[in-house]
Amino acid sequence: MWLARYTGFREPNSHLSSGGLGTMGFSVPAAMGAALGRPDKEVWAVCGDGGFQMTMQELATLVQDHIPVKIGIMDNKKLGMIRQWQEIIYAGNYHSANLLGPNYLKLAEAYGIPAFKASKPEEVDPAIRAAQAVDGPALVWFEIAETQNVYPMMPAGKGLSDLIERWNEPEE
């Protein structure tokens, strides 16, 4: 959602999303296919920590077949959409929204994939540049704010005029 809202895409077929079915775990394998179909392009798989953990076994495929996909994990240590719905619609009853993840640097290292981490704004650019400089697959672990929501939001069953926005909420 963040990617679709803020990136500013300029070319057809440059943003692939499992929008209809909303399949988690789509990005890494789909990026794999896109990279093989369009070797002239730099391909990024941008995913949450939840989606990534659903199909992260394909890291081995990236290495075995030398597929130069760059992976950006937006790690909020949460199932972010679930947490957002629970916050707004289910009165803050955060059941099963906390998500334990591995140390992604060590995980990538175990597969032989160069990995970089960014936890502060100033670390973002160097991490992305470092990943872009890698000849082959690379991974960037973005530790993002845990309570970042997607706004505006239209609750299910409501109309387009009933958008919710709560930009100035306190963190945690």
Binding site: L21, G37, T61, V124
Partner: protein
């Protein structure tokens, strides 16, 4: 020299396994070796083969070679698995994603004979289906994935369903147990065509190798023609192993054999005139661009249409990229998580021109309160989408590229700045304000900062996808069969 070394080294392993059976042989071999080593002093590498150069060693080597050539005969008959590979090559497939298993092994046994086909071994069949999907979305060509029966097939299901809901052309191939065992709960048997029936555009169960050429030609044609979608081919193991001389049909033969599958490509002229009249009357129109624009390769036509009429373009989640988001008429992303100004414009519009989108509930919200003042023109290649979620005033069934080409001459040039002037000026301000808010979350890393990745990439020169697309060989036409 090099050749000799290779021969003697490989022969050594075979002879070495046999030699410990008799002490006498070993002793003699050791003696021979030392003699030979002396004779060959000064050579780059000494042989490790016991008794190398003797008649015995040569006989062992000969037998070993014969055994290997029996395992993979140079000349063999054409079986169903060959038909599968031939068909994939004829369709212009260069890469397929798969995972081997018992009943699909006949394909893997011959795959090495077709170096044109690159097989990517995934770690889970879901990854294979998504990779085929990503390949198809990025290239516009049909993606191919491969799995075995039972768990291999069921693991593909999520990926096939994803492709169906997003209209992505993929062909999913699975093996199944031999025809005689179907229905006996054989090992790894599952009724996968029963499972994929509601989540594919079409599916096949092939029990006879002679059917494979026709089925594959039909499957690729159906997957990419009209509204694209996934097609599943389930093949019994015995069909993969049967000999066959069945020829591959031409595209004309395939079309002639599918009399019930005739998508409408050109919009009805009367509907086009009605649409032009609606557009001429509208005061607050909005274009809703969907995935159909990308599938039909109609971005240029969309921009031309919008520029001529001066109507702003909102896009769906899957319509991202239909228009350059920096184009002055690009309005932005609509729907549940869309931009507020976009949704407001839709709610106050008096005409919605929906191009290759399907009024998903994530786009409309509550349909009863959706765009209450708007009349709707709906262009879609799939007639079942018309009137499914919203009632429309002007339905146009056709390929959105051809419809726009036909519509552009019929519409009057719009007055630049007349339509939605106020909101168009507001849009960039709303965007910037929101991004500033995103960046300011207590100094923590936030999504607004990550947008810099996109900013850098936006400076790259733009390329024309159509020109870069590799020409599709043989019967594989571009999507929708358009030139």
């Amino acid at each position: 020299m090099t050749k000799t070394t290779e021969t003697t080294t490989t022969a050594g392993s075979a002879a070495g396994r046999a030699s410990p059976s008799t002490d006498g042989d070993s002793g003699r071999a050791a003696g021979d070796r030392s003699e030979r080593a002396t004779a060959a002093a000064g050579q780059v590498r000494r042989s490790h083969v016991p008794g190398d150069g003797t008649a015995h060693a040569a006989a062992v080597e000969r037998a070993r070679r014969e055994m290997l050539s029996e395992a993979r005969p140079r000349r063999r008959t054409r079986i169903g698995a060959d038909v599968v590979c031939e068909a994939l090559i004829r369709q212009g497939v260069d890469v397929l994603f798969g995972y081997p298993g018992g009943v699909i092994l006949p394909i893997y046994d011959v795959l090495g004979d077709y170096p044109e086909l690159r097989h990517v071994l995934v770690r889970h069949e879901q990854g294979a289906a998504h990779a085929a999907d990503g390949y198809a979305r990025a290239t516009g060509r049909v993606g191919v994935c491969l799995g075995t029966s039972g768990p291999g097939a069921t693991n593909l299901v999520t990926g096939i369903a994803t492709a169906l809901l997003d209209s992505v052309p993929i062909v999913a191939i699975t093996g199944n147990v031999p025809a005689a065992l179907i229905g006996k709960d054989a090992f790894q048997e599952i009724d996968i065509t029963g499972i994929t029936l509601p989540m594919t555009k079409h599916n096949y169960l092939v029990r006879n190798a002679d059917d494979l050429p026709r089925v594959f030609a039909e499957a690729f044609y159906i997957a990419r023609t009209g509204r694209p979608g996934p097609v599943h081919i389930d093949i019994t193991k015995d069909a993969l192993q049967q000999e066959t001389s069945a020829p591959h049909p031409s595209e004309e033969e395939v079309i002639a054999g599918l009399p019930g599958f005739r998508p409408t490509f050109d919009g009805h002229p009367r509907q086009l005139r009605l649409a032009a009249a609606e557009i001429a009357r509208a005061r607050r129109p909005v274009i809703l661009a969907g995935h159909g624009i990308l599938i039909a390769n109609a971005s240029a036509e969309l921009v031309e249409f919008a520029e001529k009429t001066q109507i702003p373009v909102a896009h769906t989640l899957l319509g991202v990229g239909a228009i350059d988001e920096r184009h002055p008429l690009s309005y932005g992303y609509m729907g549940m998580h869309g931009w507020k100004h976009v949704n407001r414009a839709i709610q106050s519009a008096d005409l919605l021109i929906a191009l290759g989108m399907r009024f998903d509930d994530r786009v409309t919200g509550n349909v009863r309160t959706y765009a209450p003042h708007a009349r709707i023109i709906h262009v879609d290649i799939d007639p079942s989408e018309i009137g499914k979620n919203v009632a429309v005033e002007v339905p146009i069934v056709g390929d959105v590229k051809r419809v726009l080409r036909a519509l552009i001459p019929l519409v009057e040039p719009g007055d630049p700045g007349r339509v939605l002037r106020r909101t168009r000026r507001v849009a960039p301000r709303i965007r910037e304000r929101e991004l500033a808010r995103l960046g300011g979350m207590a100094g923590r890393l936030s999504v607004g900062r990550l947008r810099r990745l996109a900013d850098r990439r936006a400076d790259e020169p733009r390329g024309d996808l159509r020109r870069r697309r590799r020409p599709a060989p043989d019967v594989a036409g571009p999507l929708h069969g358009l030139p």
